[in-house]
Subunit: 514 residues, 2 copies
């Protein structure tokens, strides 16, 4: 069958189950359900502090075939997955589904556990280029990996599709009864947003900390009523690993031109105005757009309502300059963001669910005006790939990409027309992460394409001096420079399933032919 | 059948259902369940702000027989119940269960709705002396009222026993998308703790505010993902109505003697020490105990971990003096508490569930060392009545009484031996709210009785100069002074069911014979 993004899908995928085909970005809204939760209530006098990870695994009665989760904001600095998995593997427990939020190069030890059948299932919102991605592509994982967005993951947890038997939550600070925060301690990472759904819905919740403080931890981000056990370790991670790429405004002239065009477009489209809300990625070009928007906000003396996202010091500065009244934060990206989240009540954390879960009474992305996004590929239907590289190998994930695109009033893709001698604009993307119907504008250094669905924008900018062109023209330009790349030869074996934020299948990743 | 508090109960109560008899204070712990939640997800672009309460009632499709809830911290200053009920009554909707947190004299208009069958069920954690209590006692309410503790109410909501069709949450501050807080606006009441379970579990949530602010409200105590609609009204209430009784240390010499004895007892029992946690009620004698404890903490240079409760400025002062590292707040009782909760991150709010719900992985009451409680009556089994007066008429409710008694290490009842010429210590209390097994000590002006279950305390204080006596002796002293009061003649008609915090029935209130 073909889904609404034009992707051919089987009706059933072994190791995943029945396929609910993507039926349109807003088809999933309506009456929904959060699942019931089982828990063992804790009576006065019981101690939660255990001696070791081993003891915790005994106490929660971890068994073959269970699902364990590892929500983390420490990204490539996370030590929790490796420490816990080492103990689990040593105990001979097998056939686990590992429900992560992020997989980074630091998690390379997983490859061995995957090969040995300790880990047979893996889901995440982001899988960076590296050994685990390669192992998945080689088909080592027994069941297809499942990629979900930052909003889709808590939706799946709360809706019962992703039932977690045991959540292991790394906590930069915890007390012995399970109150935790991310703003104190040597591994302080800021908000603990991603772990909230895990804490609320997992059968068992184990907090792992390297900073045990006297009761009560203060502030409390996840509270004791959701935590079964607390374990201390030497280190839960290295916060310098939070940042994997650049976090500064690009100096590349192409990137700067794209940023300048994007900001001009936003301005002409009428989005620089009091009460505006804004989010952008943390890449160099996205930050350059932010810098241009900042300049225009200052010129117009505009006060925005909020900035959101993965938050950098750059956004914090804008709030402190009075350009935004508040910040909503799902992931602190640097020390300045962490300090601001800790000290400034206007810098609020939000759960992954509040951020992007479509199955709520209104995620924050619904309130976004302007969203700046990147792309690995974009096709002439405006579908965007942020999952696989031009070689077809997994090198990312939606993160908040399809959540924010769906929610925001103006979702803008900024990208070079060509990357690594390959065209970014194509007839068809290798993997669809974000459906074209939720993408409004593509800005490249060679021109800007407005999605034809946005006739209001086309009308509004009809007299603009901006280089507005049909997206077909951009594809042609790109292909004229690079040639049409040869299609990647794939086998029929599905190694990963890409879920849209509503849980429907928007695409699959297949194993390349050798 | 007889329950574990020695109370004779029917197996079934008309209008309430099957009776689960109280089986001991800790019998309810074990594997428990939070119920599934239905909701209508809200897609981008939808507006939540409505014109009027009437429109909200139309939108949520309120129908005969439904359950509507009114969590409130404004107590006798709450205008929301009356405003909403007036509209509901005018629309001819009938047979509603009204799930309140508090009923105060201001809610007198309910009597008419009860008589007319608009309201046929009522549940609350506290029903103050007044017209509604009288109407219940007269049997005007079709179904028995249900009294639950502050922890029992969210337990019932989360467990599905108290299914709320529509929650109406008064919000001192709200934005148009449903983010709310209690710390700003003319009706600022501080924490919105009681409403959290309602927001999370009701099918529909309507926010009613008199202070609509630009998006986003900041801080956010209950977030937009839980709210369906927002309505503005002229006033949601008068915060000066929060305080119904005295909030200052008693000047009565008897009260001061009780306080002095209680503090001496706490000290000799070894509870004045670093890391101690403390809660007391806001009555004059309880505050006098707090004052004595404060003095002793200062003398010993002790730093406690936390104070909790309904919080007064007095407790805030103790935190600011360094006597407690933090405060947990479920109800701000005065302006100083509200300001402190707003401005000081060490003054943290807590949901009703975190406060006292036994069906969680550990309520805050589990962490309490010392709890100072009042009593209308206490019997020689240490069972406490805070529900009915000596005339058998409802004049209160558990509030957090049985939650904190069960959780705390040292639950102390402080009371005059005699009140209004009637003995407080009796052979049998009129209504059991808090089971004797969770009460450790009774302190009166004539002597202190330790619960025989606490052999450790008896041993520890065996050489004390304090006037330690068996509780029987206190009963005899009281009855010698007052005589044994004549039993109140009750009919067999059950007008209210008193649930223990775990949902079992600990007692019932019967209609007095005329």
């Amino acid at each position: 069958m073909k889904n609404a993004a034009g992707v051919e899908l089987p009706e059933f995928i072994k190791g995943y189950g029945e396929v609910k085909p993507f039926a349109g970005a807003f088809a999933g809204y309506g009456q929904v359900r959060k699942v019931a939760v089982r828990l063992d209530s804790v009576q006065p006098g019981k101690t939660k502090l255990l001696e070791s990870i081993d003891e915790a695994i005994e106490k929660v009665n971890l068994r073959d075939g269970m699902t364990i989760s590892f929500p983390s904001h420490l990204r490539n600095g996370d030590y929790v997955i490796n420490q816990v998995m080492e103990v689990i593997a040593a105990k001979g427990i097998r056939d686990l589904h590992l429900a992560a939020t992020h997989i980074f190069p630091i998690h390379e030890p997983l490859v061995d556990y995957i090969k040995r059948g300790v880990v047979t299932g893996l889901s995440a919102s982001y899988i960076s280029p590296g050994a685990v991605a390669k192992a998945i592509m080689k088909g080592y994982l027994k069941n297809p990996a499942v990629l979900r967005s930052h909003g889709g993951r808590p939706r799946a947890i709360e809706g019962g599709e992703l039932h977690i038997d045991v959540a292991f939550i790394g906590a930069p600070t915890a007390d012995a009864y399970g109150n935790i925060n991310g703003v104190q301690g040597k591994a302080a990472c800021g908000t603990l947003s991603y772990g909230i759904a895990d804490a609320e819905y997992a059968d068992k919740v184990v907090v792992i900390t390297d900073n045990l403080v006297p009761y009560p931890a203060c502030p409390i981000e996840i509270s004791q009523d959701y935590v079964d056990y607390v374990v201390t370790v030497d280190s839960i991670g290295d916060p310098s690993g939070i940042v994997s790429g650049t976090l500064s405004v690009t100096k590349d002239p192409v990137g700067l031109r794209i940023a300048s065009l994007a900001a001009q477009f936003i301005d002409e489209a009428g989005y620089i105005k009091d009460g505006m809300s804004f989010q952008s990625g943390a890449g160099g070009t996205s930050l350059a757009v932010t810098a241009e928007v900042r300049k225009r906000m200052k010129e117009k003396k505009v006060v925005g309502s909020f900035a959101a996202g993965g938050v950098t010091g750059y956004i914090v500065d804008m709030m402190n300059e009075g350009l935004f009244r508040s910040v909503f934060d799902v992931q602190c990206f640097d020390l300045k963001a962490i300090a601001s989240y800790r000290d400034n009540p206007k810098h609020q954390g939000m759960s992954g669910s509040l951020y992007g879960n479509p199955n709520t009474k209104g995620a924050l992305v619904n309130n976004l005006d302007i969203m700046i996004l990147g792309a690995t590929e974009i096709d002439t239907d405006f579908n965007v790939n942020v999952i696989t590289g031009s070689d077809g190998i997994i090198m990312g994930g939606s993160g908040g990409h399809n959540d924010t695109a769906a929610g925001s009033k103006l979702a803008i893709i900024v990208t070079n027309l060509i990357k690594g001698r390959l065209p970014v604009v194509k007839s068809k993307v290798t993997t669809v992460a974000t459906p074209g119907e939720t993408v409004d504008v593509l800005v490249t250094e060679r021109g800007i394409a407005i999605n034809p669905r946005r006739s209001d924008l086309i009308e509004k900018l009809k007299d603009s001096a901006l280089p507005l062109v049909p997206i077909e023209t951009l594809r042609e330009m790109a292909e004229r420079l690079t040639g049409v790349p040869k299609p990647i030869p794939f086998s029929d074996e599905i190694v990963a399933v890409v879920e849209y934020r509503d849980g429907s299948v928007i695409d699959v990743v297949k194993k390349p032919l050798d």
